[in-house]
């Protein structure tokens, strides 16, 4: 289940953030999205990810302090979505 969601998320993130020259398969689900070794995302990208979760999954991030943990990697986002959907 989480593997399917990770696959879907990788494509959605590339589309939403308009990442050029990267295929979904090239996004390591466990690699950090921000900083060195990641996708090099910036603060506007974080806001786009918040919109993505709201628009595609109906999940609203209300506490900004949760952000770094939720948006650490594609896998952590997938885990958060699954966790929220259980509630």
């Amino acid at each position: 289940m989480i593997e399917d969601l990770i696959l879907k998320l990788r494509k959605e993130i590339i589309d939403q953030l308009q990442l050029e020259g990267i295929t979904p398969e090239e996004v390591d689900p466990e690699a950090p999205l921000f900083g060195e070794g990641g996708l090099g995302l910036d603060s506007i990208d974080v806001l786009e990810l918040v919109v993505l979760l709201d628009k595609n999954y109906g999940i609203k991030i209300r506490a900004s302090k949760e952000g770094p943990k939720i948006f650490y990697s594609v896998k952590s986002i997938a885990e958060y979505i699954l966790d929220q959907q259980k509630k």
Partner: protein, 217 residues
């Protein structure tokens, strides 16, 4: 203190001119396709380019081409390089895109990366970030290219000794209509090895208009 146009470029109708000479002609296509082709032709490596709106892409590419092979960013302190631009459509394309994203209260998902481009000054910010320029900057919205306005404003900056160099001109983009015309303006006495006007053009309203129209001086 004489001011000179030391380099100029124009991007219009799929063509790029540098100092009046055609440097590149793209295949027919949309503005977006053209900007991608220019990006690859000049072998630019700046992934954030692909996230910009078309106005910023045009301003960014035009500046890259204008500055290519020059040493002005090494020659002048970052605080003394100004960027003064004009255009007619402001950021209208992305303003409309943003309005569309908030029109329906049931599908209310404004995009931060669209919203950030709903101000024309962002094109100056993109240039300043890329080249670490910290001098005066401004974007003026005018009905058409107004060299007289640029002349008055930029001359005043030099007169007040606020700048040593200025990037200035016209960057207009709406839909598939685009046009850019950029100049580097410097003081004669700061041009190393200056040996007369054969390489440069006196910075005045009439000359800017002639260069904008594609006439040689």
């Amino acid at each position: 203190m004489a001011l000179l146009i030391t380099r100029h470029m124009k991007l219009q109708d799929r063509r790029i001119w540098v100092n009046g000479i055609v440097e590149y002609v793209s295949e027919p296509g949309s503005a977006d396709k053209l900007f991608r082709s220019v990006y690859h032709h000049y072998d630019i490596d700046y992934p954030k380019f692909f996230k910009m709106d078309n106005l910023c892409k045009l301003a960014f590419l035009s500046t890259e081409i204008l500055l290519r092979g020059t040493d002005i960013l090494q020659k002048y302190p970052a605080e003394e390089v100004a960027i003064i631009l004009e255009n007619a459509s402001s950021s209208l394309e992305y303003d409309q895109k943003h309005v569309e994203s908030i029109r329906d209260r049931n599908k209310y998902f404004p995009s931060p990366s669209v919203f950030v481009y709903t101000i024309p000054n962002i094109m100056v910010a993109e240039i300043a970030i890329q080249h670490k320029v910290k001098g005066e900057n401004a974007v003026f919205i005018l009905e058409q290219f107004d060299p007289g306005f640029i002349y008055d404003y930029v001359s005043e900056l030099f007169r007040n000794q606020q700048v040593s160099c200025c990037l200035s001109g016209w960057v207009e983009c709406y839909g598939d209509q685009y046009q850019s015309f950029l100049l580097i303006i410097e003081q004669e006495d700061k041009i190393k090895g200056f040996k007369g006007l054969h390489k440069y053009v006196i910075f005045d309203t009439a000359n800017m208009l002639e260069l904008f129209k594609g006439k040689s001086i």
